[in-house]
Amino acid sequence: MATLLIAEHNGTELAPATLSALTAAQQIGSDVTVLVAGADVKAVADAVAQCAGVSKVLLAEGDSLAHDLAENLSELVMSMASDYSHIMAPANSVSKDTMPRVAALLDVGQLSDITAVLSGDQFQRPIYAGNAIATVTSKDATKVITVRAAAFDKVATTGGSATVESISAPEANSHTAWVNDELSKSERPELTAAERIVSGGRGVGSAENFALVEALADKLGAAVGASRAAVDSGFVANDLQVGQTGKIVAPSLYMAFGISGAIQHLAGMKDSKVIVAVNKDEDAPIFQVADYGLVGDLFEVLPEMTEKL
Protein backbone atom coordinates (compact mmCIF):
# COMPACT_ATOMS: atom_id res chain seq x y z
CA MET A 1 0.00 0.00 0.00
CA ALA A 2 1.03 3.57 -0.53
CA THR A 3 2.04 6.38 1.82
CA LEU A 4 0.03 9.61 2.04
CA LEU A 5 1.89 12.79 2.96
CA ILE A 6 0.02 15.98 3.78
CA ALA A 7 1.89 18.99 2.39
CA GLU A 8 2.63 22.07 4.48
CA HIS A 9 2.27 25.37 2.65
CA ASN A 10 1.25 28.97 3.24
CA GLY A 11 -1.39 29.06 0.51
CA THR A 12 1.02 30.01 -2.24
CA GLU A 13 4.33 28.27 -1.52
CA LEU A 14 5.37 24.83 -0.42
CA ALA A 15 7.04 24.87 3.02
CA PRO A 16 10.58 23.40 3.11
CA ALA A 17 9.44 21.11 5.96
CA THR A 18 7.41 19.20 3.37
CA LEU A 19 10.62 18.36 1.49
CA SER A 20 12.13 16.90 4.68
CA ALA A 21 8.97 14.96 5.46
CA LEU A 22 9.09 13.61 1.88
CA THR A 23 12.46 12.06 2.65
CA ALA A 24 10.96 10.32 5.69
CA ALA A 25 7.93 9.21 3.64
CA GLN A 26 10.15 7.77 0.91
CA GLN A 27 12.14 5.79 3.50
CA ILE A 28 8.98 3.75 4.18
CA GLY A 29 9.60 2.25 0.77
CA SER A 30 6.16 2.53 -0.89
CA ASP A 31 4.81 4.99 -3.45
CA VAL A 32 4.22 8.44 -1.98
CA THR A 33 1.06 10.41 -2.71
CA VAL A 34 1.05 14.03 -1.52
CA LEU A 35 -2.17 15.76 -0.49
CA VAL A 36 -2.32 19.52 -1.00
CA ALA A 37 -5.38 21.06 0.67
CA GLY A 38 -6.46 24.69 0.87
CA ALA A 39 -8.66 27.34 -0.68
CA ASP A 40 -6.67 28.10 -3.81
CA VAL A 41 -3.52 26.00 -3.86
CA LYS A 42 -3.03 24.78 -7.43
CA ALA A 43 0.40 26.42 -7.57
CA VAL A 44 1.51 24.45 -4.51
CA ALA A 45 0.28 21.20 -6.04
CA ASP A 46 2.21 21.93 -9.24
CA ALA A 47 5.36 22.58 -7.22
CA VAL A 48 4.96 19.31 -5.30
CA ALA A 49 4.51 17.39 -8.57
CA GLN A 50 8.03 18.49 -9.56
CA CYS A 51 9.64 17.16 -6.39
CA ALA A 52 11.81 14.07 -6.62
CA GLY A 53 10.12 10.80 -5.74
CA VAL A 54 6.48 11.91 -5.66
CA SER A 55 4.14 9.41 -7.37
CA LYS A 56 0.90 11.35 -7.31
CA VAL A 57 -0.48 14.65 -6.06
CA LEU A 58 -4.04 15.05 -4.81
CA LEU A 59 -5.35 18.60 -4.94
CA ALA A 60 -8.31 19.46 -2.71
CA GLU A 61 -9.57 23.02 -2.98
CA GLY A 62 -12.57 24.56 -1.25
CA ASP A 63 -13.76 27.14 1.26
CA SER A 64 -13.95 24.52 4.01
CA LEU A 65 -10.17 24.08 3.70
CA ALA A 66 -9.33 27.80 3.74
CA HIS A 67 -8.21 28.18 7.35
CA ASP A 68 -6.70 24.76 8.06
CA LEU A 69 -9.54 23.87 10.41
CA ALA A 70 -8.69 20.45 11.81
CA GLU A 71 -12.32 19.34 11.81
CA ASN A 72 -12.54 19.76 8.01
CA LEU A 73 -9.02 18.67 7.13
CA SER A 74 -9.30 15.45 9.14
CA GLU A 75 -12.60 14.73 7.38
CA LEU A 76 -10.81 15.06 4.04
CA VAL A 77 -7.99 12.75 5.10
CA MET A 78 -10.48 10.20 6.43
CA SER A 79 -12.23 10.08 3.04
CA MET A 80 -9.10 8.56 1.49
CA ALA A 81 -7.42 6.91 4.50
CA SER A 82 -8.30 3.33 3.54
CA ASP A 83 -6.01 3.56 0.49
CA TYR A 84 -2.88 4.08 2.61
CA SER A 85 -0.77 2.15 5.10
CA HIS A 86 1.01 5.31 6.32
CA ILE A 87 -0.45 8.80 6.75
CA MET A 88 2.26 11.35 7.42
CA ALA A 89 2.78 15.10 7.77
CA PRO A 90 5.59 17.41 8.83
CA ALA A 91 5.03 18.32 12.49
CA ASN A 92 3.58 21.85 12.48
CA SER A 93 0.65 23.60 14.09
CA VAL A 94 -1.78 22.35 11.42
CA SER A 95 -0.74 18.70 11.55
CA LYS A 96 -0.50 18.72 15.35
CA ASP A 97 -4.11 19.92 15.33
CA THR A 98 -5.31 17.47 12.68
CA MET A 99 -3.41 14.18 12.75
CA PRO A 100 -4.45 12.98 16.24
CA ARG A 101 -8.05 13.35 15.03
CA VAL A 102 -7.28 11.13 12.05
CA ALA A 103 -5.65 8.58 14.36
CA ALA A 104 -8.62 8.58 16.75
CA LEU A 105 -11.13 8.22 13.91
CA LEU A 106 -9.13 5.24 12.60
CA ASP A 107 -8.85 3.86 16.18
CA VAL A 108 -5.06 3.80 15.92
CA GLY A 109 -2.23 5.43 17.86
CA GLN A 110 -0.17 8.33 16.56
CA LEU A 111 3.60 8.64 16.44
CA SER A 112 4.45 12.29 17.06
CA ASP A 113 7.60 13.97 15.81
CA ILE A 114 9.58 11.01 14.50
CA THR A 115 13.31 11.60 13.93
CA ALA A 116 14.18 8.31 12.19
CA VAL A 117 12.47 5.65 10.08
CA LEU A 118 13.94 2.24 10.95
CA SER A 119 11.41 0.21 8.96
CA GLY A 120 7.80 0.46 7.85
CA ASP A 121 6.64 -0.01 11.42
CA GLN A 122 9.60 0.93 13.59
CA PHE A 123 10.58 4.53 14.27
CA GLN A 124 12.53 6.74 16.64
CA ARG A 125 11.14 9.78 18.42
CA PRO A 126 12.46 12.05 21.17
CA ILE A 127 10.72 12.02 24.56
CA TYR A 128 11.29 14.04 27.76
CA ALA A 129 12.26 17.18 25.82
CA GLY A 130 14.78 15.23 23.78
CA ASN A 131 16.62 13.91 26.84
CA ALA A 132 15.80 10.39 25.71
CA ILE A 133 15.24 8.81 22.31
CA ALA A 134 12.59 6.11 22.12
CA THR A 135 12.54 3.34 19.53
CA VAL A 136 8.91 2.35 19.03
CA THR A 137 6.97 -0.14 16.95
CA SER A 138 3.49 0.63 15.72
CA LYS A 139 1.11 -2.32 16.02
CA ASP A 140 -1.65 -0.65 14.01
CA ALA A 141 -2.66 -1.42 10.43
CA THR A 142 -2.49 2.27 9.55
CA LYS A 143 0.39 4.31 10.86
CA VAL A 144 -0.35 7.98 11.59
CA ILE A 145 2.89 9.91 11.88
CA THR A 146 4.16 13.46 12.23
CA VAL A 147 7.75 14.08 11.16
CA ARG A 148 10.33 16.35 12.79
CA ALA A 149 11.56 18.16 9.68
CA ALA A 150 14.89 19.17 11.23
CA ALA A 151 15.88 15.49 11.46
CA PHE A 152 15.61 14.71 7.73
CA ASP A 153 17.35 16.04 4.61
CA LYS A 154 15.21 17.70 1.97
CA VAL A 155 14.36 16.04 -1.34
CA ALA A 156 15.13 17.93 -4.54
CA THR A 157 12.41 20.28 -5.79
CA THR A 158 13.05 19.15 -9.35
CA GLY A 159 13.22 15.87 -11.21
CA GLY A 160 9.68 14.68 -10.50
CA SER A 161 6.75 14.56 -12.89
CA ALA A 162 3.80 13.38 -10.83
CA THR A 163 0.24 13.77 -12.05
CA VAL A 164 -2.05 16.18 -10.20
CA GLU A 165 -5.53 14.85 -9.56
CA SER A 166 -8.29 17.10 -8.23
CA ILE A 167 -10.54 15.77 -5.48
CA SER A 168 -13.49 17.42 -3.80
CA ALA A 169 -13.35 19.30 -0.50
CA PRO A 170 -15.46 18.19 2.48
CA GLU A 171 -18.48 20.07 3.83
CA ALA A 172 -17.53 22.63 6.46
CA ASN A 173 -18.09 21.48 10.04
CA SER A 174 -20.87 23.61 11.54
CA HIS A 175 -19.53 23.59 15.12
CA THR A 176 -16.29 25.44 14.41
CA ALA A 177 -15.94 28.84 12.78
CA TRP A 178 -12.79 30.71 11.88
CA VAL A 179 -12.89 34.26 13.24
CA ASN A 180 -9.59 35.92 12.39
CA ASP A 181 -5.82 35.58 12.12
CA GLU A 182 -3.17 37.88 13.52
CA LEU A 183 -0.13 36.71 11.62
CA SER A 184 3.33 38.09 12.27
CA LYS A 185 4.71 39.91 9.27
CA SER A 186 8.43 39.77 8.75
CA GLU A 187 10.86 40.17 5.89
CA ARG A 188 13.24 37.81 7.68
CA PRO A 189 13.51 34.12 6.87
CA GLU A 190 11.02 31.82 8.57
CA LEU A 191 12.44 30.32 11.75
CA THR A 192 12.12 26.61 10.90
CA ALA A 193 13.47 27.12 7.38
CA ALA A 194 16.37 29.48 8.21
CA GLU A 195 20.02 28.53 7.73
CA ARG A 196 21.04 30.95 10.49
CA ILE A 197 19.20 32.03 13.62
CA VAL A 198 20.02 34.76 16.12
CA SER A 199 18.04 34.30 19.36
CA GLY A 200 17.56 36.46 22.40
CA GLY A 201 16.46 35.59 25.92
CA ARG A 202 15.48 37.33 29.13
CA GLY A 203 18.95 38.89 29.23
CA VAL A 204 17.99 41.13 26.30
CA GLY A 205 15.79 42.98 28.78
CA SER A 206 13.10 44.66 26.67
CA ALA A 207 11.30 44.76 23.35
CA GLU A 208 13.30 47.86 22.38
CA ASN A 209 16.59 46.12 23.08
CA PHE A 210 15.59 43.30 20.76
CA ALA A 211 16.51 45.70 17.94
CA LEU A 212 20.13 44.74 18.74
CA VAL A 213 19.35 41.07 18.09
CA GLU A 214 17.47 41.97 14.91
CA ALA A 215 20.32 44.12 13.62
CA LEU A 216 22.77 41.21 13.84
CA ALA A 217 20.18 38.86 12.32
CA ASP A 218 19.75 41.22 9.36
CA LYS A 219 23.48 41.48 8.90
CA LEU A 220 23.66 37.68 8.69
CA GLY A 221 20.45 37.18 6.72
CA ALA A 222 19.27 35.21 9.75
CA ALA A 223 15.90 34.55 11.35
CA VAL A 224 15.17 35.87 14.84
CA GLY A 225 14.35 33.43 17.61
CA ALA A 226 13.67 33.72 21.33
CA SER A 227 13.43 31.84 24.60
CA ARG A 228 10.14 31.41 26.39
CA ALA A 229 11.17 34.03 28.94
CA ALA A 230 11.65 36.60 26.15
CA VAL A 231 8.24 35.77 24.68
CA ASP A 232 6.44 35.75 28.04
CA SER A 233 8.02 39.10 28.92
CA GLY A 234 6.51 40.51 25.74
CA PHE A 235 9.84 41.25 24.00
CA VAL A 236 8.77 39.36 20.85
CA ALA A 237 5.79 37.46 19.40
CA ASN A 238 4.94 33.92 20.54
CA ASP A 239 5.72 32.37 17.17
CA LEU A 240 9.44 33.07 17.69
CA GLN A 241 9.73 30.73 20.68
CA VAL A 242 12.30 28.00 20.19
CA GLY A 243 12.08 24.92 22.38
CA GLN A 244 10.30 21.79 23.55
CA THR A 245 6.95 23.49 23.28
CA GLY A 246 7.84 26.05 20.63
CA LYS A 247 9.66 25.55 17.35
CA ILE A 248 12.27 22.88 16.76
CA VAL A 249 15.14 24.20 14.66
CA ALA A 250 18.45 22.87 13.36
CA PRO A 251 20.14 25.62 11.35
CA SER A 252 23.82 25.71 10.36
CA LEU A 253 24.35 28.52 12.86
CA TYR A 254 22.38 29.20 16.06
CA MET A 255 23.46 32.16 18.17
CA ALA A 256 22.00 32.54 21.68
CA PHE A 257 22.27 35.90 23.45
CA GLY A 258 21.19 36.18 27.09
CA ILE A 259 19.68 32.67 27.13
CA SER A 260 20.58 30.47 30.11
CA GLY A 261 20.04 27.12 28.38
CA ALA A 262 17.11 25.47 30.19
CA ILE A 263 16.38 21.91 29.02
CA GLN A 264 13.17 23.12 27.38
CA HIS A 265 15.10 25.61 25.27
CA LEU A 266 17.89 23.17 24.41
CA ALA A 267 15.25 20.69 23.23
CA GLY A 268 14.48 23.05 20.37
CA MET A 269 17.96 23.93 19.13
CA LYS A 270 20.60 21.45 20.28
CA ASP A 271 20.72 19.74 16.88
CA SER A 272 21.94 22.94 15.22
CA LYS A 273 25.24 22.46 13.40
CA VAL A 274 27.16 25.24 15.12
CA ILE A 275 25.98 26.84 18.37
CA VAL A 276 27.29 30.13 19.69
CA ALA A 277 26.40 31.35 23.18
CA VAL A 278 26.98 34.78 24.62
CA ASN A 279 26.18 35.08 28.30
CA LYS A 280 27.60 37.11 31.15
CA ASP A 281 27.37 34.13 33.50
CA GLU A 282 30.26 31.78 32.79
CA ASP A 283 28.39 28.91 34.44
CA ALA A 284 25.28 29.24 32.27
CA PRO A 285 24.26 25.73 31.09
CA ILE A 286 24.01 26.96 27.49
CA PHE A 287 27.84 26.84 27.37
CA GLN A 288 27.67 23.04 27.73
CA VAL A 289 26.16 22.72 24.26
CA ALA A 290 27.88 25.70 22.62
CA ASP A 291 30.66 25.14 20.10
CA TYR A 292 31.81 28.70 20.75
CA GLY A 293 31.09 30.44 24.02
CA LEU A 294 31.80 34.04 24.83
CA VAL A 295 31.45 35.22 28.41
CA GLY A 296 30.43 38.81 28.11
CA ASP A 297 27.75 41.48 28.11
CA LEU A 298 25.41 41.10 25.16
CA PHE A 299 24.92 44.88 25.07
CA GLU A 300 28.58 45.19 24.12
CA VAL A 301 28.97 42.04 22.04
CA LEU A 302 25.90 42.46 19.80
CA PRO A 303 26.71 45.96 18.45
CA GLU A 304 30.41 45.13 18.09
CA MET A 305 29.64 41.99 16.14
CA THR A 306 27.08 43.67 13.92
CA GLU A 307 29.58 46.39 13.12
CA LYS A 308 32.49 44.07 12.39
CA LEU A 309 30.67 41.68 10.09
Partner: protein, 249 residues
Protein backbone atom coordinates in the same frame (compact mmCIF):
# COMPACT_ATOMS: atom_id res chain seq x y z
CA UNK B 1 -21.71 24.42 33.12
CA UNK B 2 -19.35 21.73 34.40
CA UNK B 3 -15.71 21.81 33.37
CA UNK B 4 -13.46 18.77 33.22
CA UNK B 5 -9.72 19.34 33.47
CA UNK B 6 -6.96 16.88 32.73
CA UNK B 7 -4.33 16.42 35.43
CA UNK B 8 -1.41 14.23 34.48
CA UNK B 9 1.32 13.20 36.90
CA UNK B 10 4.71 13.68 35.24
CA UNK B 11 8.34 14.25 36.14
CA UNK B 12 8.95 17.75 37.51
CA UNK B 13 9.95 20.00 34.60
CA UNK B 14 13.17 21.08 36.36
CA UNK B 15 14.50 17.53 36.62
CA UNK B 16 16.67 16.11 33.88
CA UNK B 17 15.64 12.54 33.28
CA UNK B 18 18.09 9.65 33.05
CA UNK B 19 17.86 6.61 30.83
CA UNK B 20 17.99 3.20 32.59
CA UNK B 21 21.20 1.31 32.03
CA UNK B 22 19.33 -1.60 30.41
CA UNK B 23 17.72 0.83 27.94
CA UNK B 24 14.20 -0.34 28.68
CA UNK B 25 12.88 3.05 29.73
CA UNK B 26 13.80 6.19 31.63
CA UNK B 27 14.52 5.89 35.34
CA UNK B 28 11.80 7.60 37.39
CA UNK B 29 12.63 6.03 40.76
CA UNK B 30 13.09 8.69 43.46
CA UNK B 31 12.29 11.39 40.93
CA UNK B 32 10.33 14.48 41.91
CA UNK B 33 6.90 14.28 40.30
CA UNK B 34 4.42 17.09 39.65
CA UNK B 35 1.34 18.15 37.70
CA UNK B 36 2.18 18.48 34.00
CA UNK B 37 2.73 22.27 33.61
CA UNK B 38 0.17 22.55 30.81
CA UNK B 39 -2.41 20.85 33.05
CA UNK B 40 -1.69 23.42 35.79
CA UNK B 41 -2.61 26.08 33.26
CA UNK B 42 -5.79 24.13 32.44
CA UNK B 43 -6.74 23.93 36.13
CA UNK B 44 -6.10 27.67 36.55
CA UNK B 45 -8.27 28.55 33.55
CA UNK B 46 -11.14 26.40 34.82
CA UNK B 47 -10.94 27.97 38.29
CA UNK B 48 -11.02 31.45 36.77
CA UNK B 49 -14.12 30.49 34.79
CA UNK B 50 -15.72 29.34 38.03
CA UNK B 51 -14.73 32.54 39.82
CA UNK B 52 -16.26 34.48 36.93
CA UNK B 53 -19.54 32.64 37.47
CA UNK B 54 -19.36 30.82 34.15
CA UNK B 55 -18.54 27.36 35.46
CA UNK B 56 -20.59 25.72 38.18
CA UNK B 57 -18.20 22.90 38.99
CA UNK B 58 -14.60 22.01 38.15
CA UNK B 59 -13.75 18.31 38.06
CA UNK B 60 -10.11 17.22 37.87
CA UNK B 61 -9.52 13.93 36.06
CA UNK B 62 -6.36 11.86 36.04
CA UNK B 63 -5.59 8.55 34.37
CA UNK B 64 -2.79 6.70 36.08
CA UNK B 65 -1.63 4.87 39.19
CA UNK B 66 -2.88 5.67 42.69
CA UNK B 67 0.13 7.98 43.08
CA UNK B 68 -1.71 10.43 40.81
CA UNK B 69 -3.98 11.16 43.79
CA UNK B 70 -1.25 13.53 44.95
CA UNK B 71 -1.67 15.66 41.82
CA UNK B 72 -5.47 15.48 42.05
CA UNK B 73 -5.25 16.76 45.64
CA UNK B 74 -3.11 19.64 44.44
CA UNK B 75 -5.70 20.46 41.77
CA UNK B 76 -8.40 20.49 44.46
CA UNK B 77 -6.26 22.67 46.69
CA UNK B 78 -6.01 25.09 43.79
CA UNK B 79 -9.80 25.16 43.50
CA UNK B 80 -11.14 22.11 41.68
CA UNK B 81 -14.32 20.91 43.42
CA UNK B 82 -13.79 17.18 43.09
CA UNK B 83 -11.64 14.62 41.36
CA UNK B 84 -11.90 11.40 39.40
CA UNK B 85 -9.03 8.94 39.15
CA UNK B 86 -9.12 6.38 36.37
CA UNK B 87 -6.78 3.80 37.85
CA UNK B 88 -4.32 2.25 35.43
CA UNK B 89 -0.78 0.95 35.80
CA UNK B 90 2.12 1.88 33.56
CA UNK B 91 2.05 4.18 30.56
CA UNK B 92 -1.42 4.84 29.23
CA UNK B 93 -1.47 5.72 25.54
CA UNK B 94 -3.16 8.95 24.43
CA UNK B 95 -6.00 7.21 22.57
CA UNK B 96 -6.93 5.24 25.69
CA UNK B 97 -6.77 8.40 27.80
CA UNK B 98 -8.98 10.16 25.26
CA UNK B 99 -11.51 7.31 25.41
CA UNK B 100 -11.67 7.62 29.20
CA UNK B 101 -12.23 11.38 28.98
CA UNK B 102 -14.95 10.83 26.34
CA UNK B 103 -16.84 8.53 28.71
CA UNK B 104 -16.49 10.86 31.69
CA UNK B 105 -17.40 13.90 29.58
CA UNK B 106 -20.67 12.15 28.63
CA UNK B 107 -21.39 10.91 32.18
CA UNK B 108 -20.83 14.34 33.69
CA UNK B 109 -22.44 16.22 30.79
CA UNK B 110 -19.47 18.58 30.85
CA UNK B 111 -19.76 21.75 28.80
CA UNK B 112 -16.04 22.29 28.47
CA UNK B 113 -13.00 20.07 28.75
CA UNK B 114 -9.67 21.82 29.26
CA UNK B 115 -6.52 19.76 28.77
CA UNK B 116 -2.88 20.66 28.38
CA UNK B 117 -1.52 20.86 24.85
CA UNK B 118 1.27 18.42 25.61
CA UNK B 119 2.56 16.04 28.25
CA UNK B 120 6.15 17.02 28.99
CA UNK B 121 7.17 13.36 29.40
CA UNK B 122 5.86 11.69 26.27
CA UNK B 123 5.69 14.94 24.26
CA UNK B 124 2.69 13.55 22.37
CA UNK B 125 0.34 16.49 21.91
CA UNK B 126 -2.61 14.24 21.06
CA UNK B 127 -5.24 13.66 23.75
CA UNK B 128 -7.34 16.82 23.27
CA UNK B 129 -7.59 16.41 19.52
CA UNK B 130 -8.41 12.70 19.88
CA UNK B 131 -11.10 13.48 22.44
CA UNK B 132 -12.65 16.06 20.10
CA UNK B 133 -12.69 13.55 17.23
CA UNK B 134 -14.18 10.76 19.39
CA UNK B 135 -16.94 13.00 20.79
CA UNK B 136 -17.52 14.88 17.50
CA UNK B 137 -17.20 18.15 19.43
CA UNK B 138 -15.15 21.14 18.27
CA UNK B 139 -11.57 21.74 19.42
CA UNK B 140 -9.51 24.82 20.18
CA UNK B 141 -5.91 23.68 20.61
CA UNK B 142 -2.86 25.64 21.88
CA UNK B 143 -5.06 28.31 23.47
CA UNK B 144 -3.65 31.64 24.63
CA UNK B 145 -7.08 33.15 25.28
CA UNK B 146 -10.45 31.57 26.11
CA UNK B 147 -13.69 33.58 26.27
CA UNK B 148 -16.98 31.83 26.97
CA UNK B 149 -19.98 33.67 25.58
CA UNK B 150 -23.37 31.96 26.05
CA UNK B 151 -23.37 28.68 24.18
CA UNK B 152 -20.06 29.22 22.43
CA UNK B 153 -16.42 29.77 23.31
CA UNK B 154 -13.88 31.88 21.42
CA UNK B 155 -10.38 30.49 21.50
CA UNK B 156 -7.26 32.34 20.37
CA UNK B 157 -4.73 29.75 19.26
CA UNK B 158 -0.95 29.95 19.01
CA UNK B 159 -0.18 28.77 15.48
CA UNK B 160 3.10 28.69 13.54
CA UNK B 161 2.62 32.08 11.91
CA UNK B 162 1.10 33.95 14.85
CA UNK B 163 -2.40 33.80 16.35
CA UNK B 164 -5.70 32.47 15.05
CA UNK B 165 -9.09 32.89 16.71
CA UNK B 166 -11.86 30.34 16.27
CA UNK B 167 -15.39 30.21 17.66
CA UNK B 168 -16.62 26.84 18.91
CA UNK B 169 -20.09 25.65 19.82
CA UNK B 170 -20.23 24.22 23.35
CA UNK B 171 -19.57 21.54 24.51
CA UNK B 172 -16.01 21.94 23.29
CA UNK B 173 -12.47 20.81 24.01
CA UNK B 174 -9.69 23.34 24.64
CA UNK B 175 -5.98 22.62 25.06
CA UNK B 176 -3.77 25.14 26.81
CA UNK B 177 -0.61 26.86 25.63
CA UNK B 178 1.92 28.53 27.93
CA UNK B 179 0.57 32.04 27.64
CA UNK B 180 -3.05 31.33 28.55
CA UNK B 181 -2.51 32.32 32.20
CA UNK B 182 -0.11 32.17 35.12
CA UNK B 183 -1.17 29.45 37.54
CA UNK B 184 -1.55 30.39 41.21
CA UNK B 185 0.15 28.53 44.06
CA UNK B 186 -1.81 26.36 46.48
CA UNK B 187 -2.13 27.88 49.98
CA UNK B 188 -1.60 25.71 53.03
CA UNK B 189 -5.18 25.99 54.42
CA UNK B 190 -6.51 25.05 50.98
CA UNK B 191 -4.27 22.00 50.91
CA UNK B 192 -5.84 20.93 54.24
CA UNK B 193 -9.36 21.62 52.96
CA UNK B 194 -8.68 19.70 49.75
CA UNK B 195 -8.30 16.53 51.82
CA UNK B 196 -12.04 16.67 52.48
CA UNK B 197 -13.06 17.19 48.87
CA UNK B 198 -14.56 14.10 47.19
CA UNK B 199 -12.50 11.85 44.96
CA UNK B 200 -13.96 8.95 42.98
CA UNK B 201 -11.99 6.04 41.67
CA UNK B 202 -12.91 4.26 38.50
CA UNK B 203 -11.16 2.09 35.92
CA UNK B 204 -11.15 1.39 32.22
CA UNK B 205 -13.21 -1.73 32.91
CA UNK B 206 -15.78 0.26 34.91
CA UNK B 207 -15.99 2.77 32.08
CA UNK B 208 -16.50 -0.07 29.58
CA UNK B 209 -13.33 0.66 27.63
CA UNK B 210 -11.12 -2.04 26.19
CA UNK B 211 -7.54 -0.83 26.55
CA UNK B 212 -5.55 -1.51 23.38
CA UNK B 213 -1.84 -1.30 22.79
CA UNK B 214 -1.03 0.65 19.65
CA UNK B 215 2.59 1.52 20.19
CA UNK B 216 5.22 -0.73 21.70
CA UNK B 217 8.27 0.75 23.37
CA UNK B 218 11.28 -1.22 22.16
CA UNK B 219 14.18 0.75 23.53
CA UNK B 220 15.10 4.05 25.18
CA UNK B 221 18.52 5.60 24.67
CA UNK B 222 20.28 8.76 25.70
CA UNK B 223 20.64 11.20 22.81
CA UNK B 224 24.03 11.65 21.20
CA UNK B 225 25.90 14.12 23.41
CA UNK B 226 27.32 17.26 21.82
CA UNK B 227 31.06 17.62 21.89
CA UNK B 228 32.07 20.27 24.37
CA UNK B 229 33.11 23.46 22.61
CA UNK B 230 35.60 26.19 23.35
CA UNK B 231 35.40 29.58 25.00
CA UNK B 232 36.57 32.50 22.93
CA UNK B 233 38.02 35.65 24.42
CA UNK B 234 36.73 38.36 22.13
CA UNK B 235 34.31 39.24 19.37
CA UNK B 236 37.21 39.26 16.90
CA UNK B 237 38.16 35.74 17.83
CA UNK B 238 34.54 34.61 17.57
CA UNK B 239 34.15 36.07 14.08
CA UNK B 240 37.44 34.53 12.98
CA UNK B 241 36.40 31.06 14.27
CA UNK B 242 32.98 31.28 12.62
CA UNK B 243 34.59 32.25 9.33
CA UNK B 244 37.68 30.08 9.17
CA UNK B 245 36.98 27.09 11.41
CA UNK B 246 33.21 26.55 11.32
CA UNK B 247 32.78 28.23 7.93
CA UNK B 248 29.21 29.28 8.71
CA UNK B 249 29.46 32.99 7.96
Amino acid sequence: MKILVGVKRVIDYNVKVRVKSDNTDVDLSNTKMAINPFCEIAVEEAIRLKEAGIATEVIAVSVGSSASQEQLRTAMALGADRAILVEAEGTVEPLNVAKAFAKIMAQEEAGLVILGKQSIDSDNNQVGQMLAALTKRPQGTFASNVTVDGDSVSVTREIDGGLRTVKLALPAIVTTDLRLNEPRFAKLPDIMKAKRKPQDNTSFADLGIEVKQHIQLDKVEAPAARQGGVKVGSVDELIQKLKDEAKVI
